[in-house]
Symmetry: C2
Subunit: 805 residues, 2 copies
């Protein structure tokens, strides 16, 4: 970051104050005013909005920081992304983007004049208008802030691999009580002064939440300083309720912080090693909640109390009791000094207004799609199980299949992705890249680690693949991983989060909110889609051999299924090659969330990469080589499956049936792209009824082995002709620390249970062979159970695929 100090450089605080007052006026106007936005006439009830709603409390703090940073940007020509933690401060950002003109450029109905101002006031929090938070419609925003806790992680993600960027992140003291935010302070341990940009946190302590005080505001200030120093910052404190004093102190504090950031980066980039821990600066800002708003109303203090949280004055067209107080408040900003006769900001307001892309509302980084470059993706073939191996296995008479760990293959692919895209792709993982068998990435890169390497035990330090410029971000916090990734994507880069399947639930809420952001952004024509959010769920429910019940939960899929279907893909690649096919497509997609479920243990490979690509592109298809139907009629039974473990058991069941009930006409269908099981009315990519019936048959029993909770398949298929014949085996919430085959038996998804169900459902077609084979399967299942009990391990033949007939 090049600092270009203003020549001569005495700060014109009056101009900063004018901009602040203008923004505050515009924010208050959004809450209350419908007509006469410049208050040319005495305020009348009819000038009020029909529905006065919104939040004031946090606004003046946000406008204060924004105004001051505009001054710094003008003086130093900085590239700044503004992240507003307190989402309730939507009016503050709308006010500033109105003033800087970025709002009017994005939404031509809101030009920088009186008509635009009136339109802004009318549209705010109005049906069909603009939402109340820092939603995607707000230029420059990458953090909605409705669900608190993610601002600082987003800010960090925004500056990874962006050495010229500075993210100014206002953290409210409400938000600061959340877990994700409390962990996010540690993010600086992962920020590198050479390859990354900087984050300047502004902890804004206005003292109150909705109804009570905040923990951080009421701490002993010495304790708070200790806490923030402990987190690795050098806090600079600014406090006050007198604007002139606060302006002066804040200007000096911010200049000092930016100088310090500049010094840290310059020194690191010159190759100097810092003495001791690198300590980034930050601001602790204490100003009253609802500052400059009504001080006392009917004798009750409002400004500086929790009562300023929402609209500080209860006044409406119907209840005009406080109309005078409202008018006095609005006029206290002296709008006639701030806007000219046409409603345009005056020179003083614009004195410190950055130009073009330097305006925080116009920073191209904050519109991912505008700056995103496609990844240079390698041919997945180099990581795939080769065709020759697969063909060789096919030609053998044993029916043996190749085996490969799906995630190990993905690791090899990602290694090359990282090599080819050294500054636009990162892999995020809660300490699990090795555990999830993605270790091949460490052949080319490191885990990011910038903390000092103290060794208080004197025991020696034993690290592998650790370094400041790695592409793998590991921290035992799904929240941090997800938040960093979101910030990284929303500023135009690419990534993947790999996590234990069960613990994806930790970020249910974040992922849900991100889906809302994506959906909101789709409706905004100037927002270009970011690269897709790629979530790899691995170390899944079916293989928790040394963990247990707490690690067995496939329900994250159900959560994302509630989002609009065209936003989400839920993908079950059945083998290593299919995982590569799916990952390749996912990494080249935009604007979506791809949830990919894949295991890490060696498992059968059914398809060459080319075949896998075709299968995955169709979403689901019949696997004729594993079925026994002759095609002359409907099959006696359809064995369908989704997920790598259910697929292996289904194929094994089909083979058992082919051996023992050779006359049974069995079809095997494998599903990769789960949501396409829906009808086109439910999901535009859904299979037509004809296509669906051609796969699943209309009248044959369907035994569906599904990776997750069975209800998911029912909710996707209840409109299909075969639904009454559909019998889903899946995870029944039966789990513990046990062997893989025992887990299958506990949940009725083992090959014998599937074959038995298929036989029972196809009873007539199975004919005489039925009962005998059923007895045999039942005995084999009982023997497997007994073996597991007595040996504490699975019988060796159960880890292999049985031969075909």
């Amino acid at each position: 970051m090049q600092a270009k100090h203003a020549p001569g450089g005495r700060v014109d605080l009056a101009a900063v104050d004018a901009q602040w007052r203008a923004a505050n006026y515009l924010a208050a106007g959004q809450l209350y005013l419908d007509g006469d936005p410049l208050l040319r006439q005495p305020l009348r009830p009819d000038d009020l909005k029909p529905r006065v709603v919104g939040h004031w409390g946090t606004v003046p703090g946000l406008t204060l920081v924004y105004s001051h940073f505009n001054r710094i940007i003008c003086e130093r020509d900085l590239d700044v992304v503004f992240v507003a933690g307190p989402g309730h401060g939507g009016p503050a950002l709308l006010a500033h983007t109105f003033l800087e003109g970025s709002l009017g450029e994005r939404d031509p109905s809101m030009p920088r004049d009186e008509a635009g101002m009136q339109r802004l006031f009318q549209a705010f929090s109005t049906p069909g208008g603009i939402p109340s938070h820092a939603a995607p419609n707000v230029p420059g925003s990458i953090n909605e802030g409705g669900e608190l806790g993610y601002s600082l992680a987003h800010a960090c993600g925004a500056v990874f691999d962006a050495p010229d960027a500075l993210a100014v992140c206002v953290v409210g003291d409400g938000e600061a009580e959340t877990g994700p935010l409390a962990a996010s302070w540690h993010s600086t341990s992962f920020l590198d002064p050479v390859v990354d940009g900087a984050v300047l946190p502004v902890l804004h302590l206005n003292g109150y939440k909705i109804a009570g005080p905040t923990v951080l505001a009421r701490m002993d200030p010495a304790d708070l300083r200790a806490l923030l120093r402990g987190y690795g910052y050098e806090p600079v404190e600014v406090a006050g309720a007198a604007p002139e004093m606060v302006h002066a102190d804040l200007a000096a504090a911010l200049d000092g912080c930016v100088d310090r950031i500049d010094a840290i980066q310059s020194s690191a980039r010159a190759g100097e090693t810092p003495d001791g821990r690198l300590r980034w600066p930050m601001i602790v800002l204490r100003t009253p909640k609802g500052w400059t708003g009504p001080s006392l109303v009917d004798g009750t203090p409002i400004e500086g109390t929790f009562r300023a949280h929402q609209v500080p004055l209860a006044v409406s067209r119907e209840a005009t009791g406080h109309l005078t107080e409202l008018e006095d408040w609005l006029r206290s900003y002296r709008p006639q000094e701030l806007f000219d006769a046409d409603g345009r900001p005056t020179k003083s307001v614009l004195r410190y207004m950055p130009d073009g892309d330097r305006r925080m509302g116009a920073n191209p980084r904050a519109n991912a799609g505008g700056v995103r470059r496609d990844l240079d993706l390698p041919d997945p073939q180099e990581a795939a199980v080769p065709e020759s191996e697969i063909q060789e296995a096919r030609q053998g008479s044993s029916g043996r299949l190749c085996e490969c760990s799906p995630t190990a293959a993905l690791g090899r692919y990602l290694r090359t992705v990282i090599e080819r895209n050294p500054d636009t792709f990162r892999l995020f993982s809660p300490d699990e890249a090795d555990s999830n068998k993605l270790s091949a990435v460490f052949e080319t890169t490191d885990r990011v680690w910038r903390s000092g390497s103290t060794d208080p035990l004197g025991h020696g330090v034993h690290d592998e693949n650790l370094g400041p410029h790695g592409r793998v971000m590991e921290v035992l916090s799904e929240h941090l991983c997800e938040g960093w990734l979101e910030g990284y994507l929303l500023t135009g880069r690419h990534g993947m989060l790999a996590t234990y399947e069960a613990f994806a639930h930790v970020v249910d809420s974040m992922v849900g909110q991100y889906a809302k952001w994506l959906e909101g952004a789709r409706a905004i024509d100037w927002r270009q889609p970011p690269a897709s959010l790629n979530l790899l769920l691995t170390s899944h429910a079916w293989r928790q051999d040394h963990n247990g019940f707490s690690h067995q939960d496939p329900g994250f899929i159900d959560l994302v299924m509630n989002k609009k279907n065209d936003l989400v893909r839920v993908l079950f690649p059945p083998d290593a090659n299919a995982l590569l096919a799916v990952a390749d497509e996912a990494l080249s997609s935009v604007g979506r969330m791809n949830v990919i479920v894949a295991g890490k243990h060696p498992s059968p490979v059914y398809r060459t990469l080319g075949e896998a690509r075709e299968h995955c592109a169709r979403g689901m298809s019949i696997w004729p080589e594993e079925g026994t139907e002759d095609g002359a009629q409907q099959p006696d039974v359809v064995l369908a499956c989704a997920g790598e473990v259910p697929t292996a058991e289904t194929v094994a069941a089909a083979r058992l049936l082919s051996q023992h009930v050779p006359h049974l006409q069995v079809r095997v269908v494998n599903v990769v792209d789960l949501l396409r099981m829906q009808t086109p009315e439910q999901e535009p990519r859904g299979l037509s009824d004809d296509e669906f019936d051609a796969l699943f048959a209309r009248d044959s029993p369907v035994i569906f082995a599904y990776h997750g909770y069975p209800s998911a398949v029912h909710r996707l298929t209840y409109r299909r002709a075969c639904h009454a014949n559909l019998h889903v085996h899946g995870y029944l919430e039966e789990g513990t620390t046990t062997t893989p085959f025992d887990m299958l038996m506990l949940n009725g998804m083992d090959r014998y249970s599937l074959a038995l169900d298929a036989l029972a459902r196809a009873r007539h077609a199975a004919g005489d062979a039925g009962p005998d084979a059923a007895g045999e399967f039942a005995r084999a299942r009982a023997a497997a159970k007994e073996y597991t009990r007595s040996h504490g391990a699975d019988a060796p033949d159960l880890t292999r695929m049985p031969p075909r007939r």
Copy 2:
């Protein structure tokens, strides 16, 4: 807490060490040994377990703290709950509970002798045996630790209102990176030295996670001290790799901490005011990961590195290469000194072994049901909308209904619950008790607040209903609220968590894990059920007038529906009286999770409390007064509903139909207890098919207005006869900042849309009246939309219930 120092009192560190070695031996034995548990013979491959799985790395730290605390309990007769954050340390707790005999008392197959020891070794992580974590089968455990992050919140919850209790909470440095744990350090701001017990956190820095270093272990030690002081603690540091030194230091440090806790409590209980911030002691313990395990294997360091995370030696019956190293390691504990010829712990091991209930594995607090007393619940009538008002409204000709805010009524009820149960009930809420209209509780109690009240701005402090001994726990962290509540329930008390519906997703993972705990505990005969976990989801999706899309998500229900049905209730009381009926039942229930969805805005009251109780007990019933069927035949259409807003729109739709299509035979069905829509095979409490068909009819179209995502109703009812005729209106992920009626229209759940759908589905029955009325409804809907657009508010008549015919 009374300190009873040992007379004379030199600590016998050799005895502490003996106990520690015994526990380590037993833990390692659980990982590896099947036969010859006392190593009477040279170790043979056949003595190994058939499946060697488990985690060693964290074990020696846990056993160290447990052994030392046993000494302190013996000397001071303390009432201690041991909370093990690192769940992977299951073997440590099993080892200690074996040594103290609490395991054998709970599970008679594991007596304190050689046979019991062998049984323990064999059962650990074995199919049909005991899980690998600190699961419910572990005596004294209240924290499974499989999903990391919740130990400290659980520990705090365990000591609220338990002035004699001390929770010793070991926090691993992996866990410490999570968001929930990072926020949990602030819990001490909410712990009162008078009415609550104390928590002694032991931050165990063994330096590594699965594959990399930990943030807290590698911080500059001065920064770490600052961080912990900032959180409000006085950290006492113990570090080393030489057992004798660590024993001596830790013994002194723990004695100092317990003395300090005693001093804080004695002083506060004597009414003295502390100088400055109350600063609780804590331990920072640095010992090597996998301490005392194999140091080097094949030249690679194991002890003190991440490689000690799981089993430190790869040795099995098949791969015996490291058998000698294993034997050397196991014998390094000198088992012959620790166990007598019968396998009983020797005198030295038992020197510091507490008796009876003082054993941490036998502490009655950790078995909720053993100490739980039922709440003294008031008659909800005193908070209900009186029968007289309801009857008066019924007798009027306008069809007007009384109105009442459901949560306001609940607040009045909870006020009395709190008055009657001053030390066994708490209300937990992320800063929202007022926002959620539960304010009546503040007539009798306070928000808990123990932080100092600094006023750095000199602006004055404006607090309401704040005090150290309140019953309302407010902090802007759903994680803390949920974690505290879980700890409180698991130690025998009662509570409720009230949250914005959308933000319940923040604790999806915690609630899912708690469900797993409850389910696991059901299978353990000595575990008595705790009071139910009561979650009130309010400020729901349909009334986010001044917030927006981020606050609109009814998907939490879908998450809990994945849990075993008999563990969960999902309850949609349609009005204030029904909410009271439901809450009364929920607060007297045990062993479940009750998810109650209720609004805070005034809404119609349909039923007297008595009628509401009966309706809620049935789970769902026909509301004859709102239908128009004559009973002679099947209705032309069934209007069903679940949720207070869908119910109001359904009743309005029925009334519109009765006015405009008087010949149409309409039935209104209201559903409270959602999961009972399932068949008895799916959910034991489900309605039989006959009962279900009697409500919903078999062949009539059913228009179902549902509070959440429509797929939930489909997944519950796909087996029912009427399912093909079932048309669900619900939340379609269409949201923004807008008016209540506009939200309904956006999602097709407004009265007009319901009436139109009913007419269309009952087309034939509607006869000639159909088309006309449809036109009228469509025009009314268009007019409503237009009114909202032009006025920015809902038309006044839409906030009222239309009259009946």
